[in-house]
């Protein structure tokens, strides 16, 4: 794909640092959120990158300062960038009552968008990981100036905190396999341990939920993408907004994404006329437990954004 030439001599381009950053509080719904705005250190292009972390009380730095690095790199491309703490996290007010992918923190993201709009910025590219990816996807239809969306390790199904593995298994394992596993001696022994019992309840509950949802009804059947994932994605396709999915090859979410391609998601991707792109990096992006995968992911995202920031 053709790369837009930079308007600045690459020799004189410098990395952004804290001297180019403004910490700020802004309102989002009933809460006051904390964010850091990084100002461009190259000729401004009028587009802001909004970096959303995942769930689980991850602060706006993200793991190993990934969002600090991404925002400062975006600034070197002439973009404004904001990384912010969700309500109940880091320096923001509020408390989190639960994390569920079908209840993303849309108000938080829109607070950031409105704040940037008040500063005179009206074009945005949102980058989100996992819960942050679903939040940006759910809010996309509200952001009139959206120019692109990067969804990293984005789950295609809905689940709540602590249900990721059980949801994945529920889609993978047949009922027979569940029953055979339940009869294993170590599993029966585990029934006497309260923590293991809680795990078993989660696993059983996830499977029962998939059995209770026949294909085609509202709610995703096992292996297919949630309507709450497909509907906003479909709107983006209609608007012609480019979307980049980035997965680690070992991500459970990638496996679920590939299964979902056999259904409605596949049709949507085909209809998108290449506006939906999927990139993978070797290893695990879920939770970002590998530095090499982090670096590769950031490289993929930076290259994609560099083309679409104008």
């Amino acid at each position: 794909m053709r790369k837009e030439p930079s308007t600045q001599d690459p020799v004189s381009r410098r990395d952004a640092s804290s001297i180019d950053e403004t910490p700020a509080f802004f309102t989002a719904g009933a809460e006051t959120l904390f964010g850091i705005l990084t100002r461009p250190v190259a000729d401004p292009v009028g587009t802001a990158l909004i970096a959303l972390p995942g769930g689980g009380y991850i602060p706006s730095t993200h793991r190993n300062r990934m969002w600090v690095r991404l925002c400062r790199a975006a600034a070197a491309e002439g973009m404004h960038a904001i990384r912010f703490d969700y309500h109940g996290v880091g320096e923001s007010t509020g408390a989190i009552h639960r994390y569920r992918l079908d209840e993303p923190f849309v108000d938080d993201l829109m607070g950031a968008v409105y704040w940037l709009e008040a500063l005179g910025i009206d074009r945005f590219i949102a980058v989100g990981t996992c819960f942050g990816a679903r939040t940006s996807l759910s809010a996309a239809h509200l952001i009139s100036g959206l120019r692109g969306l990067v969804l990293i390790s984005c789950p295609v199904q809905d689940f709540g905190e602590g249900e990721k593995a059980s949801t994945h298994l529920a889609a993978q394992w047949s009922l027979g396999r569940y029953l055979r596993a339940a009869l294993r001696p170590q599993v029966i022994k585990g029934l006497f341990d309260s923590r293991r019992r809680r795990s078993y309840r989660r696993l059983a509950g996830a499977k029962l939920r998939t059995l209770a949802r026949p294909a085609g009804r509202n709610g995703s059947a096992a292996g297919s993408a949630s309507p709450l994932f497909l509907q906003p994605l479909s709107l983006l396709v209609e608007r012609g907004i480019p979307v980049l999915f980035v997965y680690g090859t070992d991500d459970m979410a990638y496996e679920a994404f590939r299964r979902a391609l056999d259904g409605e998601l596949g049709k949507l991707v085909a209809r998108s006329a290449s506006r939906i792109q999927v990139e993978t990096v070797p290893g695990l992006l879920d939770g970002f437990p590998q530095i090499e995968a982090q670096e590769r992911c950031l490289t993929v995202v930076r290259e994609w954004i560099a083309i679409r920031r104008l």
Partner: protein, 305 residues
């Protein structure tokens, strides 16, 4: 679009006030040797006489502890103290290269922040809180500044053992993926020596940090160490670990007041885990925060003893 000037960034920190407690939170970047240190100050209503510097752990431990430290700082400010949290250079929102992070730079940053906050708020007394490797930093800074009190949350006492535990976390993760092999621990330390860095669950452990920390230990019995020490032990056991008991004994033998509390709760500091619990369900955290804050807020007069 108007953009803030460099001067405005320094002079006008981001600020918000809790309408119920009156605690004001101010966030800014503090320049230190050409690098900006991210700093968050929690200010009480009225002028504080005591400033508390909170020294964080590193890596995923800092993410685990961040919210607790934030709540502790609010609790301290609600009790009339000024509390400051910060990110070491090379970590968090601060500038600086992770490769250059060392115990010495961490101590330097803690001392720098302590000096600045004392002069900014006019405090007459300094106290420190340190968690994990931050306990190391806090103890050193407290000795250097002759702070009278220090609270330590699960401090690292023996750094060699600490790094072995950290490496073990990586090995256990590799085991889960079927990638561990015999001699993995030594191989990782060899790699650290050779390449200068190893990846532990998505965080770099760099040679500068490792070498600067080796063979150092916290001693609470030396001349300038704080007179009053609170040591909080995490972990399932309610019995005090030998290393903490020895450290406490060293402090008591030299006339210090040492209080040890065993929380009886497990914290997996370095593990990336899917399951986590909502803040409101962590009652032990609330107890930890309230106890630490009330202990630090005591107007302890050495002359009265």
């Amino acid at each position: 679009m108007k953009s803030a000037s460099k001067d405005r960034v320094a002079l006008f920190p981001a600020s918000r006030t809790d309408p119920r407690s009156g605690v004001r939170r101010e966030i800014s970047f503090l320049p230190n040797r050409g690098s900006g240190i991210f700093m968050c100050v929690h200010l009480p209503l009225g002028r504080p006489s005591t400033a508390v510097v909170i020294c964080s752990p590193i890596g995923p431990e800092s993410m685990r502890n961040d919210r607790r430290e934030s709540r502790l700082a609010d609790e301290l400010a609600a009790r009339g103290l000024c509390a400051v949290r910060f990110h070491y250079r090379g970590t968090g929102h601060s500038d600086g290269s992770p490769e250059a992070l060392s115990i010495d730079t961490m101590q330097e940053d803690a001392g720098f922040v302590a000096d600045r906050i004392v002069s900014a708020v006019g405090a007459t007394s300094l106290e420190f809180v340190g968690s994990r490797l931050g306990g190391f930093v806090a103890a050193a800074a407290a000795s250097e500044t002759r702070a009278p009190s220090i609270a330590l949350w699960e401090p690292v006492v023996n750094t060699r053992r600490y790094f072995r535990e950290v490496v073990r976390a990586r090995i256990m993760s590799d085991l889960g993926k079927g990638e561990a092999r015999a001699g993995a621990s030594e191989a990782l330390f060899d790699e650290l020596g050779r390449s200068g860095s190893i990846d532990v669950l998505g965080y770099p452990i760099n040679r500068a940090l490792y070498e600067s920390a080796l063979e150092r230990s916290i001693t609470l019995g030396s001349g300038d160490a704080p007179r009053r020490i609170l040591l909080i032990q995490f972990g399932a056991s309610r019995g005090v670990r030998d290393e903490y008991q020895q450290m406490a004994n060293g402090g008591k033998e030299s006339g210090r007041s040492v209080e040890i509390e065993a929380l009886g709760t497990v914290e997996a500091w370095w593990f990336v885990r899917e399951r986590w619990e909502l803040e409101r369900s962590q009652e032990w955290e609330q107890t930890l925060i309230e106890h630490t804050a009330s202990w630090l807020a005591v107007d302890w007069d050495e002359g009265a003893r």
